[in-house]
C-alpha cells in the first residue's frame, strides 16, 4: 500500500488554525484542514488564494448572454421573421429578459460545474477514508493532513513536527 499522508487531530478550531499557520510557515504546501464547520480566517491561515470559480462563473455568464441574444436575433430577424404588435423585427428590448435568464443560467452552471471540477469531484473514494478516526471531522474532530507527495514530507520528521505544533492521534494513512 502506498502512503497517502499523515493526519493529526487538534483540540479546538483555534488550535487547528494556529497549526495551519505553522505548517505553512514550515514550508509545506500540500496540506488541508478538516473541521465540522467553516472556520473564519482559515483561508488566510492556510495561505489559500482566492478561488478562481468567480472567473469561471463570469466567463460562462457572458457566454450565456451572447448565446441568448444571438439566438433571439437569429430567430426573430432571419429564421421566423414575424411582426409582433407592430414592433420592428429587431426589437432588442424584448431579447434582454431571455438574455438575462441565460446569463444567470450559464453562470449557475459555471458555479456548480466549476466548483465540482476545482474540488476534483465527483469521486467515489478518498484515501483519507481509510483512517477510522477521520470520520469524526463531520462531528467533533479538528484535523489536518499533510500529503506524502509534499516535497518536505518525511514520515519521522513530519510526525515529530505535527506533535510539536500540538497535534494528537497522529496517524499515517496508507491507501491507493
Amino acid at each position: 500500500m502506498k502512503t497517502y499522508g499523515m493526519i493529526a487531530e487538534f483540540s479546538s478550531p483555534a488550535a487547528l488554525m494556529d497549526a495551519a499557520k505553522q505548517v505553512r510557515t514550515a514550508g509545506y504546501s500540500k496540506f488541508d484542514c478538516h473541521s465540522p464547520f467553516p472556520i473564519h480566517g482559515m483561508d488566510e491561515a492556510m495561505g489559500l488564494k482566492r478561488s478562481p470559480v468567480g472567473y469561471i462563473v463570469g466567463g460562462m455568464a457572458a457566454l450565456g448572454a451572447v448565446i441568448g441574444f444571438s439566438l433571439q436575433t437569429w430567430v426573430t430577424t432571419d429564421a421566423y421573421p414575424l411582426v409582433i404588435s407592430g414592433k420592428p423585427l429587431f426589437s432588442w428590448q424584448a431579447y434582454i429578459i431571455i438574455t438575462f435568464a441565460l446569463f444567470v443560467l450559464f453562470g449557475a452552471f459555471g458555479a456548480v460545474i466549476g466548483m465540482f471540477r476545482l474540488n476534483r469531484l465527483p469521486r467515489l473514494h478518498h484515501p483519507l477514508f481509510y483512517s477510522e478516526q477521520f470520520a469524526r471531522v463531520t462531528d467533533d474532530g479538528f484535523m489536518l493532513h499533510i500529503e506524502a507527495d509534499d516535497t518536505q514530507f518525511d514520515e519521522e520528521k513530519t510526525e515529530a513536527f505535527l506533535a510539536s505544533v500540538g497535534g494528537t492521534n497522529i496517524e499515517l494513512v496508507r491507501g491507493a
Partner: protein
C-alpha cells in the same frame, strides 16, 4: 478636527463639520428662497427635487436601522449609530416639506379643478388625488416615520444608560413591525409626491424603485461618512475593511436591484405599448432627455455594477469612495429624471435653484445629523453584539 474618547466613545471635540454644514444649508436655503421670487414655478420644482433626494436618503437610513435589528445582523452594529442619527433628521424634512404645500398648484396638475372637470380619468382618481387627502396622507407618513425613528433611537440610547440587553429584543420586534409600516408609507409617499406629477400615468412598482434608489444612496452616504471619520482617526479600528466590504456588497446588491426594478417597470410598459403608459418614457427620451436616461443606465448601473463585481475593489477604500460619490450624484440625476420632465417643455433644464436647494436642504440635514451623532456615543457600547461586530471578518 473632531475627536473622540477612545474608552467611552463620546465626542470630546465636535470639530467644524456641523457649523460648515449649517452655514452651507442656510446659504443654500436663502439663495433658493430669493430664487422663489424670481421664478416660483422653477423654485417649487427644484425644491421638490431636492426634498425627494434627501428624504429618500434619510428614509433609506431608517430602513437600514430596522433591517439590521429585524435580521439580528452582527456586522452592522458598529455603524448603526450613524444611521440612527440620520433617521433623526426626519422632523427637519417635515419642515422642508411644508413649503411644497404652498406650491401644490404649481406642481400637481390634478389640483387644477378646471382641468379635472374636463378629464374623465382625473375625475375618477379624485377621491384619492385631492388636496385634503394629500395633506392627511403626508401627515400620516411623517407621523409613522418620525415615530419609528424616535422609538428606535430612544431604545438604542436607553441601552447606553441601563446596559440592558433586553432592549435589543424590543428593537427587533419594533423593527419587524416597522418595516411593514415603512413599506406601505414609502410606497404611497412615492405615489403621492413623485408619481402623481403625471396623474394619468401609473406604475405599481414605482414605490419600490424610489425606495431602492434611496436605500442604495444611504449606504453610499454611510461609506463616505465613515471614511470622513477615519480621516479624523475616529472609529478607524472599529469600522474595518471588512465592514466596508459589506457596505460594498450592499451597494452592489442594491445597484443590481435598482436596475432590476427599473427594467421590470420599463419592460411591462414597453411590451403592452399602451399610450397612457408609454408617454412617461417618451417624455424621458425626447428633447435631449435620452442623454439623462442613458447617463442613468451607465452611471447608476453599469459602472458601479462592473466595479463592485470584484472582490478586491470592494475592499479598496478609494474605489469605494469613488463609487459612493458616483451613486450619490446618480441618485440626484435619478430624482431629477423622475421630477423634471413634467416641468421642462422641450429640453433638459438644470436650474441654479436645483443646486442651491440640494445644498440648502442637505446642509441642514447634515448639520442636524452631525449634531445628533456627536451628542451620543459613536457606537452602541452596550449592544450585546458589539464585540462580534468589531471583530467581524468577511
Amino acid at each position: 478636527m473632531a475627536a473622540i474618547d477612545s474608552q467611552t466613545y463620546t465626542f470630546t471635540d465636535r470639530g467644524r463639520f456641523g457649523i460648515a454644514a449649517l452655514g452651507a444649508g442656510v446659504l443654500g436655503v436663502v439663495l433658493t428662497v430669493i430664487g422663489a421670487f424670481t421664478d416660483t414655478h422653477t423654485f417649487f420644482a427644484s425644491w421638490l427635487t431636492a426634498f425627494a433626494f434627501w428624504a429618500t436618503i434619510v428614509l433609506g437610513a431608517l430602513f437600514f436601522v430596522m433591517l439590521q435589528h429585524a435580521t439580528g445582523a452582527v456586522w452592522s452594529v458598529v455603524t448603526r449609530r450613524a444611521a440612527e442619527a440620520m433617521s433623526m433628521t426626519l422632523p427637519l424634512l417635515l419642515l422642508c416639506f411644508i413649503p411644497l404645500l404652498f406650491g401644490l398648484h404649481d406642481l400637481f396638475h390634478w389640483t387644477h379643478a378646471e382641468e379635472v372637470a374636463t378629464d374623465h380619468l382625473l375625475q375618477w382618481k379624485s377621491p384619492y388625488l385631492n388636496t385634503t387627502f394629500f395633506i392627511i396622507r403626508a401627515a400620516v407618513y411623517f407621523a409613522a416615520w418620525i415615530g419609528l425613528a424616535w422609538g428606535l433611537n430612544r431604545l438604542s440610547l436607553a441601552q447606553d444608560r441601563d446596559q440592558n440587553p433586553a432592549h435589543t429584543l424590543t428593537l427587533r420586534k419594533l423593527s419587524a413591525g416597522g418595516l411593514f409600516l415603512f413599506a406601505f408609507t414609502l410606497t404611497f409617499a412615492a405615489f403621492d409626491w413623485l408619481m402623481s406629477l403625471e396623474p394619468h400615468w401609473y406604475s405599481t412598482i414605482f414605490g419600490v424603485y424610489v425606495f431602492t434608489g434611496g436605500f442604495l444612496t444611504s449606504m453610499a452616504v454611510l461609506v463616505l461618512f465613515f471614511q470622513f471619520l477615519r480621516g479624523a482617526n475616529i472609529l478607524s479600528d472599529e469600522v474595518t475593511t471588512d465592514h466596508y466590504h459589506d457596505f460594498g456588497r450592499m451597494l452592489f446588491a442594491f445597484t443590481v436591484f435598482w436596475a432590476y426594478i427599473g427594467a421590470s417597470q420599463y419592460y411591462l410598459i414597453w411590451y403592452a405599448n399602451l399610450p397612457e403608459e408609454t408617454m412617461w418614457y417618451l417624455a424621458r427620451w425626447e428633447h435631449g432627455w435620452y442623454v439623462v436616461s442613458l447617463l442613468l443606465i451607465f452611471g447608476h448601473f453599469v459602472i458601479p455594477f462592473v466595479t463592485l463585481l470584484f472582490f478586491r475593489l470592494k475592499r479598496n477604500l478609494t474605489v469605494l469612495r469613488f463609487i459612493a460619490v458616483l451613486l450619490i450624484v446618480m441618485h440626484f440625476v435619478d430624482i431629477f429624471w423622475l421630477v423634471m420632465p413634467t416641468f421642462s417643455d422641450g429640453g433638459v433644464h438644470f436650474s441654479w435653484m436645483h443646486l442651491t436647494a440640494v445644498i440648502g436642504i442637505g446642509g441642514l440635514v447634515l448639520w442636524l445629523f452631525w449634531t445628533r451623532y456627536t451628542a451620543n456615543r459613536a457606537i452602541p457600547v452596550y449592544d450585546p453584539k458589539l464585540e462580534d461586530s468589531i471583530a467581524h471578518r468577511v
